[in-house]
Each structure stands twice: as structure tokens, then as C-alpha cells.
């Protein structure tokens, strides 16, 4: 009887009977090729282990968190992908080989009609999945429950949730609450009234990825929350409106930072928008801050995301010990919106546009 090795950085089939004893206590069988796989992946695997006597726990109690948010472990077990779904190259061991061997950063892919048709379809799926996930947002719902919805909605469309095991990311969506800038990991923390939460959806279908995100209010938002969220939303809209052939990618940052500053907010510099298509992340890079030096100029057929992360306080970020969760260094709120767009002959086409029925949406500033 063979199993898939539970090490997220292995993913090979094995007939080994080596099992994690702590998982067994939770009535789960996690098989490993050998002690080497077990030891190497221990840090990635132990996140699933519960602690006796508590519902959830902070895995890094000695870490100096910048805000009040804490991770709530254990993480649920890796969700299954049915065998018939086409997986990206990193699904088994976390290494996106095709991205790593892709060409120079100055080569920006231009997609043909056939490719664009596939990109549009998967972008459409992305929108549907995001809307389905956003629909369950309310106080008391955990981000892990949102992850489950995202995962199931994705699989239902014969698609793969791109974040899952990308560089060993453990879940199918990024959920970023309050001071989390991006790449928050869904866990057992229930959403609270007054939170803001960003859902960042990425999908892989028929060889193409899609990527979009929105920030939502949970219950009744504070004035500060409305300012940072609406500013982020407007920043993205303004940047998108400027897109057409001949525009330098770096100029988008000027537009975004100008609007953020005008509203007393700052722009995160560590994370960028990116090209997307056959690869989850590729050229161009799109920095969101002013006077950046992102190379390249827009041409018809290019597909990329713009995803400004706007902070209520200072732009600086720090990373949690999980090596994923990016939070504001001052612990203040951060909001983000992301669309994927296609450059056309005379402008752009929004591939991940909201529908009339989409949950969330702009709230008037008072």
C-alpha cells in the first residue's frame, strides 16, 4: 500500500510505514518516506498538531508582535486535491521550477488570443470563488472556514488553488486581518466585529493562473478602517484607469502613492504586482510606491496584477515567524485590493471585475 509523503517539500509516493506519532494521537495517519523527510519537514508539519488542554495556541509566544493579532494554531490538515485536476509544477514539493527557470526579468510575456481566452476563463473563476468566500464573512467565522470554502469552490471548477504548497504555503487562500498586509495563513481565529479582512484568491486552470483580492469589513467598521480600505480601493482604481500601451509600469506607483498620501496613508514597498498567466508570478514587477524603478512599458497582450497595500500608519512591514505573514511594523491597519488586467490595443480590460451580486464594495466616507 503506497501513500504520498506528508512532507510538503517532498510529495513523493512511498510505501514506507513511518507515521507521525503526534498525528496518530489526533487519529490522522501522516506517512513519511523516512526519517530524513520527517526531520526536514518537521517545521512545516508540526503546525497541524494540537496542544492538549487548549483549543488553539500561539506557536511563537516569545515573538514581539506589532499589533494585537495572534496566530491561532493548529492549522487544519492539508486539503485534498482530486486526482483529475491538473496541478501546477510546485504542487508536490513546493518548488515552482517553471518560474525559477523562466527568463530574464526584462522579458514580459505577451499573450496570444488563445492564451487570453484561457486567462479570461480562469480569472472569471477567480471572481466567482472570491465572491463565494466573501459571502460567508461575518463575526465568528474562522479564516480556516473561509479557506475551506475557497478550496471547495476551486476544486468544484476543476481548478487548483494556486497558493496551496507554493513555496510550501500551507493553505488554499491568503487571509489577511487588520494589521496583516498580506500572506496571512488561514487558522482557527474567528473574525470579530470591526475587523477588516482581505481574501487573496489565486486559481490555476488549464495551464493558466488568475489572481485577485479584496478587503472586506466584518460587522461595523471604524472610521479609520473605512479610510484605509476605501483609500486602497481608490488607489487601485486610479492606477488601473491609467493603464494603456506605452505607459511605463513604474508610473503606476506615482499615482497610487499620491492618492494614499492625500488620505493620510502610506504605501507598502516590499510587495509588488506582477505578471501572471502560465506562471503564477512573472515579469513585469509593479511597485506601488512613488519614484520606483520597475522596468518595462505596457504593450497589448500583457496580463498583470496591480495590488496596492495601503497602511493607515507607516509603510514598514515585518514578517511573522511563520515566514509568510507580513504585518505593519507599527501594528496599524493595512488594506489591499487587487485586480488582474489585460492591456488592449487602446487601453485595458479588467479580467476580475466585480459583478452586481459581488459581496463587499465601497462604503461612503462619513
Amino acid at each position: 500500500m503506497s501513500h504520498i509523503c506528508s512532507a510538503p517539500d517532498c510529495g513523493k509516493e512511498t510505501t514506507s510505514v513511518l507515521k507521525c506519532p503526534l498525528c496518530l494521537k489526533q487519529n490522522v495517519e501522516s506517512f513519511f518516506c523516512n526519517q530524513t523527510c520527517f526531520k526536514r519537514s518537521w517545521g512545516l508539519h508540526k503546525v497541524h498538531h494540537s496542544k492538549e488542554g487548549v483549543d488553539s495556541y500561539d506557536p511563537s509566544p516569545n515573538f514581539t508582535y506589532s499589533g494585537s493579532l495572534r496566530p491561532a494554531y493548529p492549522l487544519s490538515y492539508t486539503r485534498e486535491i482530486p486526482a483529475h485536476i491538473t496541478k501546477p509544477d510546485y504542487a508536490a514539493n513546493g518548488v515552482p521550477v517553471s518560474e525559477q527557470v523562466s527568463d530574464r526579468t526584462s522579458k514580459i510575456p505577451v499573450n496570444d488570443a488563445d492564451e487570453i481566452a484561457k486567462i479570461k476563463l480562469v480569472a472569471q473563476y477567480g471572481r466567482e470563488i472570491l465572491d463565494a468566500a466573501a459571502a460567508i464573512i461575518k463575526p465568528g467565522v474562522t479564516t480556516d472556514e473561509i479557506d475551506e470554502v475557497v478550496h471547495n469552490e476551486t476544486v468544484k471548477r476543476n481548478a487548483y488553488p494556486s497558493p496551496l504548497n507554493y513555496y510550501n504555503f500551507p493553505k488554499s487562500v491568503c487571509t489577511s486581518i487588520n494589521e496583516v498586509i498580506c500572506h496571512g495563513i488561514p487558522d482557527k481565529r474567528p473574525l470579530k466585529d470591526g475587523d477588516i479582512v482581505n481574501l487573496d484568491i489565486s486559481v490555476f486552470h488549464e495551464g493558466f493562473h488568475a489572481d485577485l483580492n479584496e478587503t472586506y469589513y466584518v460587522g461595523t467598521p471604524s472610521k479609520e478602517a473605512i479610510n484605509v480600505v476605501e483609500t486602497a480601493r481608490e488607489c487601485l482604481d486610479l492606477a488601473i484607469a491609467a493603464c494603456k500601451p506605452g505607459v511605463a509600469f513604474r508610473s503606476l506607483g506615482d499615482i497610487i502613492e499620491k492618492h494614499a498620501k492625500a488620505n493620510g496613508c502610506s504605501v507598502v514597498r516590499s510587495f509588488v504586482g506582477h505578471g501572471i498567466g502560465k506562471l503564477f508570478h512573472c515579469a513585469p514587477q509593479i511597485a506601488h510606491y512613488a519614484r520606483n524603478k520597475s522596468p518595462g512599458i505596457m504593450k497589448p497582450g500583457m496580463v498583470f496584477t496591480i495590488e496596492p497595500m495601503i497602511n493607515a500608519g507607516a509603510y514598514k512591514d515585518i514578517i511573522w515567524p511563520d515566514n509568510w505573514t507580513a504585518v505593519t511594523a507599527d501594528g496599524k491597519l493595512s488594506a489591499q485590493f487587487e485586480h488582474e488586467l489585460l492591456i488592449t490595443e487602446d487601453g485595458y480590460e479588467l479580467l476580475t471585475a466585480r459583478k452586481e451580486t459581488s459581496p463587499g464594495g465601497a462604503v461612503a466616507r462619513k
Binding site: V97, T105, N292, P300, Y315, N323
Partner: protein, 636 residues
């Protein structure tokens, strides 16, 4: 020499600061140079000490350099497969067109390619016909620097690039004026644009630095403020081996070059960045530097673990190891802090030797991701601080940098054509000599010289001459270090400089193609002595026919004899003198003008006075070198 104005230079310093770069304004000031233009001067004495690394005068993150890879047209250049110096020129023209909208504007505007009178600043190849005629027979002509065809080809490529991308985008990508050629268009307008293109190419050629495998060549704000000398006091440093896909310093990205990946199919290492031979080394360093990121996956898969005990004990064991590692890292951090603290207490200015520069996120940038200008010898207060662009003759200096050094020690006069004449005119005498030289001798001599050179290089490395030994103004420092420098004992062109100004290397490659012809590399040095190859050929020609037959039989073993020193002493044989005089005379006959005493600017139409001065200087020096050689060959 530098054509940047003082105000523009100050703006460049401002640009460096606002782009998180480091220009040590405590030690340096910019002011007019006695050589013309502006230069960089020491505000105070700066001492090099043996136990400290050389002070860093300028440090810039590579991301802030202006390269074709970083420009707004990077992707278009990639599509058009334009690389190297031309890619940089085109990128510059597009950035220039954007003015204040370019993130490099504060730097770009300091680059003057138009002179005060509104004329483009041009290399000799673009001078008037009459001006070029004055160079006839000189090294500028011999080495092909009067031809404008290469520039024309580049300009055509650049215009095609602009037109293509404008048409493809239905005009949405606008064409910079300099590259916008309409049909029909007034010839003068086209010519004016071409001249501007040449002037820009010329200005950039004098300022571009070879950076690394990704950026290729780039403009380095601030580094180009240092004037050139054959005895420099700084050098330009840049780590060449970086990821070819994105330019990140080793481990700074996840790119794998395809070749690497194929070599190592099962490599599960996430950060197998960058290429080639450096691979192994990088990984060793990586695991030291970047543990935090790669801890989980950096294990060697070959090494299977066999833990004796229960799985629970194994987990305890793993957890213990993790804790130990955390503790180790903590101790290392503490130690580093302590040593920094100690250094501070002892009065060492860390900032001087390794200035911390931060990226746009406020994170400290690894020095290897930066380019530096570092001091290579002590300088005193008020002294101008020079870089070197290489061991360059005036021909190259004028062509590339637009200036000359009087009596430049690296000037040479090529004698290949003159020997060719000798071969034709003295067929009866030398047929067999030249035949052997062409078929065997030239290659044997060249190979022998290369072997000697590589041996010396090894010795040089052991001697490590980076301490600025030979050129610190100490007049008789020449031979104290026991390594053999040519003539003046200047090590200005030492290895690190090959990372400096780029074009020399390209030129080296060009020369490589022609180097296999029998008449190449036959040079008269600025000391009026023949170079080694030239001496070997001369000595060969002194052999009588019978001697030659014996010589050819013994062949290779006699090569050292051909090359043995002693051109001056013991004195040349009469036979050698006669041959030498013939060669030198043939060479002198090539010059249209070699003496400008009787030539005045009034006699010359369409010749600019400043250019005439350059022509006089270059041709005059060559003439002097030849005359002196001829004099010496006639003494006995």
C-alpha cells in the same frame, strides 16, 4: 575632463542621497579641476591602513543604476534582442525624453553631450573631412577610429527599434525625437539627429561601467565624477557573478538557470540561484547567510538519517536541535554586536569602511549587492582623487573620453604595415624569414610571451599589489616591490579595473579577431623601443640565409633567444639598425601631416581649433616617438 558642471555635480550628489546611496561628503568635495571641468578632491588626509579594508567613497545599490535592464524600455529591448552598449544608449534616450518623469533625471541631466556653443560633442570619427584628413597615417586612422560606419549601423538599429515599437503599438509608444526619422525629411535634420545620437553614444561610452552578468553595462551616478589618470587612487568594484535572470546577488532570488537545473534534476534546493561554476560555492555561503529562509529544505538528501529510538524521542531530538540552532544564532548575533561595539569604542569609523545603505524598504543592503568606489592609496588634503579608465593610449582616450594626456606613456605606433612594406620591397632578402614568421614564428613567439605573462600574473597575485604601491607619488617606488611592471611600474591597469569602464573589453575582443595575422601586435612603444614581438621579428630578420636554415631546424627552442632583452645593450647590430631604420622610415611615410609647425588654423578650412590641438598632440607624439627611435638607430 569631466564635462559635468559644478551645479549638476551637486545635483548628482543630491540624487545619490535621495536614492539611498552613499557619497562620502565628509571626505570628498566636488570642485573645478585644474585639468578642466570638475573633479573630486580630498577634504582631509585619508590614510590607508594595513589592518583595515580600504575606505568606501561611493556606494550605490545596483538597483539604482541606470541600465537597459532597469529602464522603461527594458522589455522592448529584450524583444528586439538589443544588448550591451547600444541597449544602454537607447534606454538613455528614452529616459532623457521623459525628463523629470524619469527616476534618474537628477543624474541624466548632468550628462552633457552638447557643448556650450550648442554643438554635439563628437569623437574623431564624426569630425569634418578636413579634420579627419589631418589624422591620415596616424594611429587613429590605423586603428580604424575614423570610420563612422559602426555608429551609423547603431543609429539605424536604434531608429528601427523606435519605429517598430511605435508602429506595433499604433503610436501609443512614442518615439524620442532623436530617433524619429520621417520620409521624406531634410538631410540636414537627419544628420543633426545622427550627430546627437553619436554625441550621446560618446558621452555614455565614457561613463558606462561593466557591472555584472545581469546589468551588463550601466551608468553609475557619481562614479563618473572621478577624472582619469594613469596613476589612480581609487578603483571601481562590483561583484560580477549574480543571477542572470534578475540581477540578485547570490541567494537573493529563487531563479535557477536552466542549465543548472538540468545538471541537477533532483535538486530540491529552493534557492539554487544563479549560474555556472560558482554554484557550489554559493550554496556553501548561502547556508551560512540565509539560514532563516532555507532551514527546512537545505538538507542534503543523500544523507539519510537513522535515529535509534522511538519516534517520540526522535521528535524531542529534532526540537532540541532547533532550540540549539536558535541559541547559536542568538550568540552569533550577540558576538557581532559586541565586535561592532568594540570597534566603535576603539575609535574605528565603521561607516568609513563599510557604509550601511538601505533599500527603499529601509532594509540594509548587502555590500555585494552594491557597486563601490574604494580608495586604493592614501591621499592628502586638497588632492584630486583620480580613477583610471585603464592603461589607455591617447587614441583610445580621445575616441572614447574626449581628452588626451600629454606624452601619454601608453601611446604606441603600430609597425605592421611598415613591416609589410619591408617584406614587399626587400623580397629577395627576407622572403624566407617572413614566410617562417607568418607560418610558425608569430604564433610561437606569441604563445611563449603568453606563458611568461601568465607566470608573472601568478607571482603578482602572491605579491598582491592592491595597496596602491606603485603609484603613490613616491618617485622611486618603482622597483621596490619586486614585481615586474612595464616601464614606469604603474599598476593602474590591475585586475580590478577590468570591472571599470567597459568598452576596452569589447575592443579587446575585436582585436582578438585580428591578432592571428603575422603583422599584428608589432608596436613601437612610447619609449621609442620596439615591443617584444617586434624585437623578435627584427632579430629574426638579422639572420643570414644560412643561419635562418639552421634556426628554422631548431625552431621552438630558439624562441627565447629571439626575445632576449638587450635592444639597447649590447648595441644593435649594424644589420639590425639598417632594417629598423627602414621600418621606421616606411612608417613615417604614412603620415600626411607629421609636423604642424607650418600649419596654422587659417590655412585649414572647416577645422576647429580645439580639435586641431588634439590632432597636433596625438600626431605630434607619435612623430616624436618615431623620430627618437630613428635617431637612436642612426647613432652608430
Amino acid at each position: 575632463m569631466s564635462v559635468t558642471s559644478l551645479q549638476d555635480a551637486q545635483d548628482v550628489i543630491g540624487w545619490i542621497k535621495s536614492n539611498n546611496g552613499h557619497f562620502n561628503t565628509d571626505l570628498l568635495e566636488i570642485r573645478p579641476s585644474p585639468l578642466g571641468g570638475i573633479g573630486v578632491f580630498a577634504k582631509q588626509d585619508i590614510q590607508l591602513t594595513e589592518d583595515m579594508p580600504p575606505p568606501v567613497l561611493l556606494r550605490l545599490h545596483k538597483d539604482s543604476l541606470l541600465s537597459s535592464q532597469k529602464s522603461c524600455v527594458a522589455n522592448l529591448l529584450y524583444e528586439s534582442q538589443i544588448t550591451g552598449a547600444l541597449a544602454l544608449v537607447i534606454a538613455f534616450i528614452y529616459e532623457l525624453e521623459l525628463k523629470e518623469l524619469s527616476p534618474w533625471w537628477g543624474f541624466i541631466k548632468s550628462i552633457k553631450y552638447i557643448d556650450d556653443k550648442g554643438h554635439p560633442i563628437l569623437p574623431p570619427s564624426a569630425w569634418s573631412k578636413n579634420e579627419k584628413d589631418l589624422f591620415q597615417g596616424s594611429e587613429i586612422e590605423m586603428q580604424g577610429y575614423l570610420s563612422v560606419s559602426e555608429l551609423l549601423e547603431s543609429y539605424e538599429k536604434a531608429c528601427l527599434f523606435a519605429v517598430r515599437h511605435s508602429l506595433e503599438s499604433k503610436g501609443m509608444i512614442s518615439t524620442p525625437d532623436i530617433l524619429a526619422i520621417q520620409t521624406p525629411q531634410d538631410e540636414d535634420i537627419v544628420d543633426g539627429k545622427f550627430q546627437q545620437f553619436i554625441a550621446i553614444s560618446h558621452a555614455l561610452a565614457s561613463r558606462n561601467f561593466e557591472i555584472d552578468a545581469f546589468h551588463e553595462v550601466a551608468l553609475v551616478p557619481g562614479a563618473d565624477l572621478f577624472n582619469h589618470t594613469n596613476e589612480p587612487s581609487v578603483r571601481f568594484e562590483s561583484v560580477y557573478e549574480v543571477c542572470e535572470a534578475c540581477g540578485a546577488f547570490e541567494g537573493g532570488c529563487e531563479h535557477v538557470m536552466i542549465s543548472d537545473y538540468e545538471d541537477d534534476e533532483d535538486n530540491s534546493c529552493q534557492d539554487a540561484c544563479c549560474g555556472g561554476e560558482e554554484h557550489e560555492q554559493e550554496h556553501e555561503q548561502e547556508s551560512e547567510d540565509d539560514d532563516d529562509e532555507n532551514m527546512d529544505i537545505e538538507e542534503d538528501e543523500e544523507e539519510l538519517i537513522h535515529f535509534e529510538g522511538t519516534m517520540e524521542e526522535f521528535i524531542t531530538h529534532i526540537e532540541q536541535e532547533i532550540q540549539e540552532e536558535i541559541e547559536e544564532n542568538r550568540m552569533e548575533d550577540l558576538e557581532e554586536e559586541a565586535s561592532l561595539e568594540a570597534a566603535k569604542k576603539s575609535g574605528i569609523n565603521i561607516e568609513l569602511y563599510s557604509p550601511e545603505i538601505k533599500d527603499i524598504d529601509g532594509k540594509i543592503i548587502h555590500p555585494n549587492a552594491c557597486v563601490d568606489i574604494t580608495l586604493t592609496r592614501s591621499v592628502s588634503k586638497g588632492e584630486e582623487i583620480f580613477n583610471t579608465y585603464g592603461e589607455l593610449s591617447n587614441v583610445v582616450l580621445l575616441n572614447k573620453y574626449g581628452f588626451v594626456i600629454e606624452q601619454n606613456e601608453f601611446d604606441t605606433v603600430s609597425l605592421g604595415d611598415a613591416f609589410g612594406k619591408l617584406r614587399r620591397f626587400r623580397k629577395g632578402l627576407f622572403r624566407a624569414h617572413f614566410k617562417w614568421w607568418e607560418e610558425r614564428g608569430y604564433d610561437l613567439v606569441k604563445r611563449y610571451l603568453q606563458e611568461i605573462a601568465s607566470d608573472e600574473e601568478e607571482e603578482d597575485e602572491e605579491n598582491d599589489c592592491n595597496d596602491g604601491c606603485c603609484s603613490d607619488g613616491d618617485e622611486d617606488s618603482d622597483n621596490r616591490h619586486g614585481h615586474d611592471h612595464q616601464e614606469d611600474g604603474c599598476c593602474g591597469g590591475d585586475e580590478p579595473h577590468s570591472h571599470g569602464h567597459d568598452g576596452e573589453q569589447e575592443q579587446d575582443e575585436d582585436e582578438e579577431d585580428e591578432e592571428n595575422s603575422w603583422d599584428s601586435n608589432l608596436d613601437l612603444l612610447s619609449t621609442s623601443e620596439p615591443n617584444a614581438i617586434c624585437l623578435a621579428l627584427l632579430r629574426l630578420l638579422t639572420l643570414h640565409k644560412v643561419q635562418l636554415i639552421q634556426f628554422v631546424k631548431r625552431g621552438e627552442e630558439l624562441i627565447p633567444w629571439l626575445l632576449k632583452p638587450g635592444f639597447k645593450n649590447p648595441a644593435m647590430s649594424r644589420r639590425m639598425q639598417r632594417i629598423w631604420r627602414d621600418v621606421l622610415s616606411f612608417r613615417l611615410q604614412e603620415y600626411e601631416y607629421c609636423d604642424f609647425k607650418d600649419v596654422s588654423i587659417e590655412d585649414l578650412e572647416d577645422v576647429r581649433d580645439d580639435r586641431l590641438q588634439f590632432i597636433k598632440s596625438i600626431v605630434g607624439h607619435e612623430y616624436k616617438i618615431l623620430e627618437r627611435a630613428l635617431d637612436r638607430a642612426s647613432i652608430m
